[in-house]
Amino acid sequence: MEIIKCKNFTPDYRNIVKVANNEWVDRIPLYEHIIGPKVMKEITGTSPYDLMFSKDMAESKEGFRQYWNFFKQMGYDTASLEFCICGILINGGALGSHKEGCIKTREDFEKYPFDELPELFFKEYAPYLKNFAETCPAGMKAVGGVGNGLFETVQDLVGYMDLCFLKSDDEKLYADLFKKMGDVHAKIWKRFLEEYSDVYCICRFGDDLGFNTMTLLSTDDICEHILPQYRRITDMVHKHNKPFLLHSCGNLFKVFDSIISQANINAKHSNEDSIAHFSVWVDKYGDKIGNFGGVDTDILCRKSEEEIREYVLDCLNKVKGHGGIAFGSGNSIPDYVPTEGYLAMVNTVRQWRGDYK
């Protein structure tokens, strides 16, 4: 495994802000949605995730320092970090932990303590938001903010299948869930932007709206119940003079023009080759929004370093100059991505953009 040390790299977050505003930048910024602990440990020997959320604030700061350093060392202008709403949801867990949904009826809905959530969010995360901000290295800023989009948080309380059933059993409750949770999101984002967003140069949440062949809800429902709530957030983000990046997986082509116009996003991340190569997203939407992404996570797992290198160069040459591009994996770097594969991608981009000259 080869880690090319580069003494001359000076991070400059303004590059990626330009990209999010759909401007091509020659020193193409690297970008990842999430990088797992294994890859970080194998590259830097540190385990920031073990420390970042420690009750001991000195330890927590050390964790965040290590986290920022990883991104800096690898040639990123920003570090990605979301503070996730699903992490504080009372009786959540239906999305990621296979728990039974806690809202099934109007009565469950009326009883659910939605109004406590914003307070809970800041009680839980405020100290860590501060530590994260205080350890930010010169020239860098963050991408992220309040994690989990509306669809994911609603699923975490109801469960995907039960949500689909609710649509047919009690359409009013189905609609009210999105509205009520939308209010919670708006409240949290408002305070987050006012008090904690200085360290963030691009705001983002992740909300997987699709899968291989289509969207997980009907496109009409996405337009009616989800996008107007996204818009409340993007409007606030824009008032703070920051661009908004949406991370959303799946085949979204049927609804993507509405996502751009109704939700007014500036940039989008997530791509998979079984749906469309990154360059297809850039061809289709590169005139309107910045595109973040690149190498399908599957490729990083299965291909040799040389094949990854070829894939990256081919992809970069296809998308070069077509609006704002930030480059990295199409999804994330979970622990099952071999560190060699990740490094092959990063080193190729850095060589291509001239870091090693």
């Binding site: 990621g96 296979h98 995907y160 299948m161 689909c164 059933f165 649509k167 047919s168 899968f211 291989n212 062949t213 289509m214 969207t215 997980l216 809800l217 009907s218 496109t219 998979e272 079984s274 996570t297 599957d298 797992c301 299965r302 979970p334 099952y336």
Partner: protein, 209 residues
């Protein structure tokens, strides 16, 4: 075909449990055989939804509510079918492979297979090769169906195929999920890959005939 059954099939496609149940009662009162009700009222409706899903003409929620109406209908009909000696068309053991927690696709495949009149035993998520094979033996299953959504867990499918061969059980291994391809299926010698749940149910049925 009886208008009651045509109506039943239409209500099933819209996922209307109450109407489907009422029409089953009406059909029974009219003296229609339970097996005919199952095939021409319920399974036919589910096939229409499956075909539309294959062509991306309906969204997942529509498939799920139709499948739920189908299940409510078959549960209601079951005692009558048993009385008539109608047996399920085959048995499937299904699960998401070890290390993988994605289950929406697996649940849809399960419902679609049930919609073809198959008996499906759901092992949930994070299922090891041993668990599939043990359940297949215990239930004399015709099929083991493995779902996987992560590149890393695709390897577990090979373990399932190898264990099925090593144990000499008769179950066919069907595989699917976002990263799975026909090439991968061939490389691990699984019996079938299909890209969507409706085709999976068709293939499963053909393995049981």
């Amino acid at each position: 075909m009886s208008t009651t059954l045509v109506e039943m099939s239409e209500f099933l496609q819209k996922g209307r449990v109450k109407n489907v149940k009422e029409l089953i009662q009406k059909a029974l009162d009219e003296g229609i055989a339970p097996k005919t009700i199952l095939e021409e009222g319920l399974l036919s409706g589910m096939s229409v939804v499956g075909e539309k899903f294959k062509k991306n003409e309906v969204f997942v929620p529509e498939v799920l509510i139709a499948a739920r109406a189908m299940n409510a209908g078959t549960t209601m009909l079951k005692p009558y079918l048993v009385q008539e000696g109608v047996e399920s068309k085959g048995t499937v053991v299904i699960g998401t492979v070890k290390g993988d927690l994605h289950d929406i696709g697996k649940n849809i495949v399960k419902m679609m297979m049930e919609g073809k009149g198959l008996n499906v035993i759901d092992l949930g998520v994070d299922v090891s090769a041993e668990q599939y094979v043990t359940a297949a033996k215990e239930n004399d299953a015709d099929i083991i169906a493995c779902s996987t959504l992560l590149t890393t867990t695709m390897g577990e499918i090979k373990n399932v195929v190898d264990l099925v061969k090593a144990e000499g059980i008769r179950a066919k291994v069907m595989i699917g999920g976002a990263p799975v391809t026909q090439d991968f299926c061939d490389s691990v010698n699984a019996d079938s890959y299909t890209p969507d749940a409706a085709t999976a149910a068709d293939v499963a049925l053909s393995f049981c005939l």
